[in-house]
């Protein structure tokens, strides 16, 4: 997959842990972990919306295109 999720970088900048984020946006830790480790096949807009709202960022801050 050439789309990379850079959630860990944004979390580090905000000083937030994955567990805290999970509690704030109501997505399970397991699912966030799938997202963070680039194992996800797709992301819902509602998930992206919740992440951007809580982390105060843009979708482009969370996703990167890395050509193989």
């Amino acid at each position: 997959m050439t789309i990379r999720v850079t959630l860990d970088h944004v979390l580090e900048r905000r000083g937030m842990t994955l567990t805290e984020l999970s509690e704030r946006i109501g997505i399970t830790l397991a699912n966030l972990s799938i997202l963070k480790t680039n194992k996800a096949r797709a992301v819902r807009f509602s998930t992206l919306d919740a992440l951007c709202r809580e982390l105060d960022c843009q979708p482009a801050d969370l996703l990167a295109y890395v050509p193989e």
Binding site: I27, N31, L32, I34, L35, K39, A40, R41, A42, V43, R44, T47
Partner: protein, 209 residues
């Protein structure tokens, strides 16, 4: 998509199938022990129902559906001969025992898979790849049961007919073709492929965050 929750019917059926599975175990053990035991003195009264076909009966039956009432001639009649096992030769009892030993475990295995499928559905995982494998196995088991029953039935009918020295009836051996069993087997195998696809879709869905 919300989490799958099985309804009460599934839970009840899971319980009933578990009961049927344990009962089938009991029947299997009792049958495999009882068949040879029936040869023991004191158990001569134990009989086994042997299906036979009586062809070309000279009998007829009339219905008042038609006016005037029309008599219809009976063709082949399926009957059951109550054979006392104590009087049967050892070879015949051995044949019955072999048939039971072959068919009953197949039935047990079929019920085992069915029970495991219902348990996985009850636990909220209907589209499990293991369920797909179990359905496929059940399909082939059903085919084996249907074909095996036909072969066993014909063999024991032949053995019985070969031993008859005197009969007021014209007896005949036949191979029953379990069309419904074969059809069921094909449906199970087709369902297995659908469940296999379902499990891959569910796996992909589980990776959508």
């Amino acid at each position: 998509m919300g989490k799958y929750r099985p309804d009460r019917v599934v839970r009840i059926l899971t319980g009933l199938i578990s009961l049927a599975y344990y009962f089938a175990w009991l029947v299997t053990v009792v049958t495999l022990i009882a068949l040879p035991a029936a040869l023991l003195p004191g158990l001569e009264g134990v009989t086994v129902g042997v299906p036979v076909t009586v062809p070309d009966l000279e009998e007829s039956v009339a219905f008042d559906w038609d006016t005037p009432a029309t008599a219809y001639r009976l063709g082949d009649a399926r009957a059951q001969l109550e054979m006392p096992l104590g009087a049967a030769p050892l070879s015949y009892v051995a044949l019955l025992w072999l048939g039971a030993a072959a068919m009953l475990p197949l039935t047990l295995r079929f019920l085992y898979h069915l029970r495991r499928i219902f348990q996985r559905v009850r636990d909220g995982a209907p589209f499990d790849l293991e369920n797909a494998r179990r359905l496929r196995s059940m399909g082939f088991l059903q085919l084996a049961i249907s074909l095996g029953y036909g072969v066993f039935f014909y063999a024991q009918s032949l053995a019985l007919m070969g031993a008859v020295t005197e009969s007021s009836l014209d007896l005949d051996a036949w191979i029953p073709i379990d069309g419904i069993g074969v059809f069921t087997a094909l449906v199970l195998i087709a369902l297995a492929e659908i469940f296999r696809r379902g499990s891959s879709l569910e796996e992909e869905q589980s990776l959508v965050v």
